[in-house]
Amino acid sequence: MTTTSTPPRRRLSMRRREAIACYIFMAPAILGLLLFAIGPMIASLLLSFTEYDMLSAPQWVGLANFQALIGDELFHKSLRVTAVYSLVTVPTILVISFILANLLNQKIRGISFFRSVYYLPTVISGVAVAMLWRWMFNGEYGLVNTLLDKIGIDGPNWFQDESWALPALIVTSLWTFGSTTLIYLAGLQGVPNEIYEAAQVDGASRLRQHLHITMPMVSNVTFFNLVMGVIGSLQVFAEPFVLTGGGPNNSTLLLPLYLYRNAFEYLKMGYASAIAWASFLIVLALTLLVFKSLPYWVHLEGSTEERNR
């Protein structure tokens, strides 16, 4: 019988073991990002320089897709429609959410119920909500026109009327204020009560407290909601797809709908990729603009000390 001596096992240091555990925990998220976000983004960037129909090999066309976008009337129209949609929905949702969050921040009985109720629309699928609005805006039997009729207004046939389809679509999108409200609510709850108490001692009215305490204190939340709102408004798809399909006469042709048409209906995947990248550049420019404006209106904790240092 022979005995063999086993070499002593090298023990990993605590620091190294923690690092490995950290990488293992991070791996799913990083892999997901690489496989499902970065990879397709790179592929779509390459595709934007090609003519590709998914059925045959891509043809390299250089900047032709981007040049075609410059002269594409429908692309311009979809940009205008998207701009109007974003300019109206983003600020309106911010205002509604801010007001609602203030109301939901009160210490009254049953506040949890109200918070749940206002968040409910966010949980329901976009398509289901869209179908609901479709009936609400029915020209003949819809609730909206019935109410207008009560005050003597003959309501239009919203989604079928070129002039009214986009306003109706905008109204339906305002329904999705739940998440923004929730974020505002969290922000409001982080405002120290002592500041309000001090203001009350100084005799500040409720309005002044709102203007000079609440709004500056949650300006970082407003900033976050604004950035997310701008990005989200340029990606809206389900509601216009279900409610109008971009019509009538392309009056609700938002950019993602036009992209979808080119990619999956006309099989112009290269052109659609160019639209996607144009859209990305617009989002990037708008986001940078908002970031640039940050020092002028966003109150950052500790920023005064930073500046005085």
Binding site: L34, A57, V61, E140, Q160, G247, F264
Partner: protein, 441 residues
């Protein structure tokens, strides 16, 4: 500046994309990469059949057909069926092609012309000849010509045929004491009847004599132009220009617009939607007549009121109905092409009597199309209506940009026309300019 076009091999492109992705860590992807030849349902004995979902009754018939085929082919071929919503159907086919795992056989619609253009479809002519589906005495082979895209061979195997009919609500006709439409009716007769059938309460219309129905769509409207010996395009296969400004085409457009705004016997699109959102105009029971595709018959069978059909009315003394062939495409790269064609052949021959009984599609084979089984339970006037097929024209346009033409040129312009926001001449010129540019692009 002229853009230089270089062909890129798909593999090179994908590997380029992969390499670029690799720079940010994508080598991990490699382990997940699929082998081109793996995973297909392939096999000589098994086929994947794809069709789009129509309605619960038609879908159930499709499933029953598949079961009957599998029973008949027991031990030889096993077919599996996938039914998809139409708006996902073409994406799925294209993605399957892109992944090099095409469906073995899929149901035709005009989008498949793009697949022919890219050389993806199998030339089925030898198989069709061998299966004797070209026998003039048995099949309406004169209708096949539009599917011979190269002038000699068929790239789809037909199994059914469709046309347009003129639906009318018998209850509303009886109530108004108006005689039912028949094959002698002209569009003037329709207007006269529609005036009697339109019911108003004050300024509000509670019942419409007519809905323009599928005449609001280019292929329906074009029947009026065909009746005047012209068409919207110079030719159906690879058209080079739109010719809507031809005075006869303008007259067709003006005629439909007048039904809504001059004669006021048909609702505008907004009025139609108000009457029938999510129900359908004719289904609402508030519309007396409606020209539409004959495939509506299957779903109208559930209606609670009495209705029937007639051939399309005569326009300027003539009637030319559209027709569409229904059938199957088989990819050139399919792994079970013989078994797939067996399914198409069986559908176009053995299955024809059952198709007649099902009352969803009109069987292609002459004997079944006018058989007692086919006519039993069909609405009055059906037999007269399918006789239109003897003098009909294909209701398709075969061009790579055809969907874009429909969605960006026809669709928005007709929307404006039927909403009275454009005059027929303006609309015609607008469509000619934009459409011809698209056809050339």
């Amino acid at each position: 500046m002229e853009n230089v076009r270089h062909g890129i091999d798909r593999r090179r492109f994908l590997s380029g994309a992969m390499a670029a992705a690799g720079a940010v860590g994508l080598p991990l992807l490699a382990g997940c990469g699929g082998d081109d030849d793996s995973g297909g349902s392939g096999g000589s004995g098994s086929i994947r059949v794809l069709a789009w979902s129509n309605s619960p009754s038609i879908d159930a018939n499709f499933k029953a057909r598949l079961k009957a085929f599998n029973d008949a082919q027991k031990g030889k071929i096993k077919a599996t069926l996938q039914l998809l919503p139409y708006d996902q159907y073409w994406q799925k086919i294209q993605l399957a092609y892109s992944a090099r795992q095409p469906y073995d056989i899929y149901y035709w619609d005009v989008q498949a012309y793009a697949h022919y253009k890219r050389g993806l479809l199998k030339d089925l002519q030898p198989d069709i000849d061998n299966a004797k589906l070209t026998d003039d005495a048995t099949y309406p082979t004169n209708l096949y010509d539009p599917w011979k895209f190269d002038g000699k061979s068929m790239f789809g195997c037909p199994e059914n045929v469709q046309t347009m009919v003129f639906f009318y609500n018998k209850d509303l006709f009886d109530k108004a004491g108006v005689k039912y439409p028949d094959d002698t009716w002209t569009w003037d007769d329709v207007i006269t009847a529609a005036e009697k059938l339109t019911v108003r309460q004050g300024s509000k219309v509670t019942q419409w004599g007519l809905d323009i129905g599928d005449l609001s769509i280019w292929w329906g409207l074009q029947t009026l132009s065909w009746a005047q010996d012209t068409a919207f395009v110079d030719k159906e296969l690879e058209p080079t220009k739109l010719q809507l400004s031809d005075p006869r085409n303008v007259e067709s457009i003006a005629f439909i617009q007048d039904l809504i705004y001059k004669h006021k016997v048909a609702p505008s699109p907004t009025q139609t939607t108000s009457v029938a959102q999510d129900v359908g105009a004719f289904e609402s029971g508030k519309i007396a007549m409606r020209p539409a595709g004959g495939w509506q018959i299957a779903s109208y069978k559930k209606l609670s009121f009495k209705w029937a059909v007639a051939p399309l009315p005569l326009f300027k003394g003539k009637r030319v109905a559209p027709y569409w062939l229904g059938g199957w495409n088989i990819p050139k790269a399919g792994k079970a092409q013989e078994a797939a064609f067996e399914y198409a052949k069986w559908s176009a021959s053995t299955f024809q009597p059952q198709m007649a009984k099902d009352h969803d599609w009109i069987p292609l084979r002459n004997a079944e199309r006018s058989s007692g089984v086919m006519l039993e339970g069909m609405p009055d006037g059906f037999e007269q209506s399918i006789r239109q097929l003897d003098n009909s024209r294909i209701g398709d346009i075969y061009h790579a940009n055809n969907l874009q033409l429909i969605e960006e040129v026809f669709g928005p312009t007709f929307e404006q026309l039927w909403n009275n926001k454009l005059k027929p001449e303006q609309a015609a010129k607008q469509m000619d300019d934009k459409g011809t540019a698209l056809l050339k692009g």
